[in-house]
Amino acid sequence: MKIKLSNNTELTPILVTGGQRHIQGQSRDTLSFIFPGTANMEELDSAFTAENCESIAIIGDDGTEYIHKAYTVRAEITKASVEVTPATAEAEAVYMDRITVSMAERTYVETQLMKLNSSVGTAELDAAYKEGVQNA
């Protein structure tokens, strides 16, 4: 399995899980990407920005592709020892380090606010500033 972010960064998580979580005061659909503990946490932190997560494609080993839009709210990035093999009568449980990056979906209201903010472009603001300078 691999995932592809909006900026074409490709990453290879061990597992992707989904679920509803309460993040930043809202109940949100959340995708969790689980990487080996040996992965570079700083690189993952840099990769999973809001901008890069506007579109996340999850591509299965058989080529099936699922695209998830607007999972831009960072819920967590943690490195923890997790149980990968449960204990049995014959053996103790096996634990390994895993890095989990969780990204939650932006709400409808947040999307509308973002569109409102971006409707006033930098060029328009620059022009307004210059007009103010000129009319001083």
Binding site: G132, V133, Q134
Partner: protein, 145 residues
């Protein structure tokens, strides 16, 4: 007009008035560093209410008002009205402007001040009171960028 553009317009006006009020006590380097706050020269504008030293931009240069006057009553622009407008020079190579011939003692290049040649090279003055560029007086200039 959104509140964003209104706010930016108000900020631009406030910044321009602030620079105009401070400019008389600033050197060319300081004024050019803030040239985005200087309005473009307006040949129809009445500059009689402006303080001496107030900056405008024109023809890729920054000029400061020497003698307040009503531009509507005069033909020309700062580059042709040198008794009314002084030329700013900068010591910052990144902000260097194209060469302009000094007008008498006005606009002479002092030590450290720069101009950008037609070849794109920035030259910095090695001595005061320069009235010739690096092509005419190469020993007085150092290529810096």
């Amino acid at each position: 007009m959104s509140i964003y553009t209104e706010a930016m317009k108000a900020q631009g006006k406030a910044d321009a008035l602030d620079l105009r009020g401070r400019a008389a006590g600033m050197d060319g380097t300081g004024i050019i560093a803030e040239e985005s706050k200087a309005p473009a020269f307006d040949p129809a504008k009445d500059y009689t209410g402006w303080p001496a030293g107030a900056p405008v931009t024109d023809e890729g240069q920054v000029w400061t008002l020497i003698q307040p006057y009503n531009a509507a009553g005069y033909e020309g622009r700062p580059s042709t009205l040198r008794a009314l407008w002084g030329l700013c020079h900068t010591k910052d190579p990144a902000k260097a402007k194209p060469w302009v011939d000094p007008y008498g003692t006005s606009g002479m290049y002092m030590t450290g001040e720069c101009y950008k040649g037609a070849d794109g090279i920035v030259y910095q003055a090695l001595q005061d009171n320069l009235v010739h560029d690096a092509a005419a007086l190469p020993g007085a200039w150092e290529a810096v960028a």
